[in-house]
């Protein structure tokens, strides 16, 4: 009896140590690259640092037993949104290394505000005693997540689908632009005139 209890506590100790090591690994990955995002002057480096932040947060979701959410984070955020952002970077800069420096005063104000806010938040978190569970639930089955998503949260789910449709139409309309029609017309008339010249 005592042996089994001892073995169990050993196993839980090992699990705690492994969880702690993985947590600090992912936390350093996410937090360090988040700091890189804030201080980097190069927009491409900022995008790469953001990729590491998102991956680290996905690892934290794995540690929190939210496997589906971690997969969604990797696929949608790191695979979709970040590619979209990198395409935006490439489309909106003549050279990918163009940089606009913020004024020194702005940087000082922003950094001091951030430090004060971080200090306040950390002190608040450390000094608060949260009513946490002694033994958190082991795992969250994905079928349960699907039932909740299509049961309790059916109306938000449908509203989000309508929103995605509206966003798709709106983004396509906005990105197409009105100037494009004129350019197409000019190109067509140019090719027509060239054809006419060749024929004559």
């Amino acid at each position: 009896m005592s042996f089994s209890v001892l073995a169990q506590s050993d196993i839980s100790d090992a699990a705690n140590t492994a969880t702690a090591v993985l947590f600090y690994l992912f936390a350093i990955m996410a937090g360090g690259s988040a700091i890189c995002v804030a201080v980097s002057r190069n927009i491409v480096r900022t995008a790469v640092a953001l990729l590491f932040t998102l991956t680290g947060v996905a690892g934290l979701y794995f540690l929190l037993n939210a496997e589906f959410l971690a997969a969604v984070q990797l696929v949608v955020y790191a695979g979709g949104t970040l590619i979209l952002i990198i395409f935006g970077v490439m489309l909106t800069s003549k050279s990918p290394f163009s940089r606009f420096e913020a004024k020194l005063g702005e940087v000082v104000i922003a950094m001091s505000l951030a430090c004060v806010l971080l200090f306040a938040l950390v002190m608040g978190i450390v000094r608060t005693t949260f009513a946490t569970d002694e033994f958190p639930t082991g795992n969250y089955p994905i079928d349960r997540l699907g039932q909740v998503l299509l049961g309790d949260y059916l109306v938000p789910f449908e509203v989000v689908s309508v929103l995605l449709l509206a966003v798709m139409i709106g983004a396509a309309y906005l990105a197409k632009g009105r100037r494009r029609e004129g350019e197409e017309g000019a190109a067509r008339s140019g090719s027509l005139s060239r054809q006419a010249r060749e024929w004559s």
Partner: protein, 116 residues
């Protein structure tokens, strides 16, 4: 200062401190960057910090249970936040492309046409 936190056993407060760091980094990014896409990246960081908070609270402070009693509100909210962040990034990038077509730059300081 950190007396309330045990370093060996990972609890709710570790995740909250990390989320606070992510949030502050995102806020500093929004304030410092003059590239509009950099500001968008700061917004993504802030949303990620909120997501970490939601999932951590769902794991540690939601009153566990099995079967139908299992609460998943935090994770569902996080999924909705991810969807909305993707939609927001798409629309924001379309607007930035229009801005770039009109002004030939992505510097937000140049967007001053509506200043009185």
């Amino acid at each position: 200062m950190l007396a309330g936190i045990q370093f060996g056993i990972i609890g709710l407060q570790h995740y909250l401190v990390l989320a606070a760091l992510l949030f502050v980094c995102g806020l500093a990014t929004i304030l410092v960057k003059r590239n509009a896409i950099g500001i968008l990246m700061g917004v993504e960081l802030v949303l990620n910090a909120a997501n970490v908070n939601l999932v951590a609270f769902n794991r540690f402070a939601h009153g566990g249970g099995a079967g139908p009693a299992l609460k998943l509100d935090g994770q569902v909210f996080a999924i909705f936040v991810i969807v909305l962040a993707a939609a927001e990034a798409a629309v924001a990038l379309a607007i930035f492309l229009n801005f770039y077509n009109n002004f030939s730059t992505i510097d937000v300081e140049r967007a001053q046409n509506l200043r009185g």
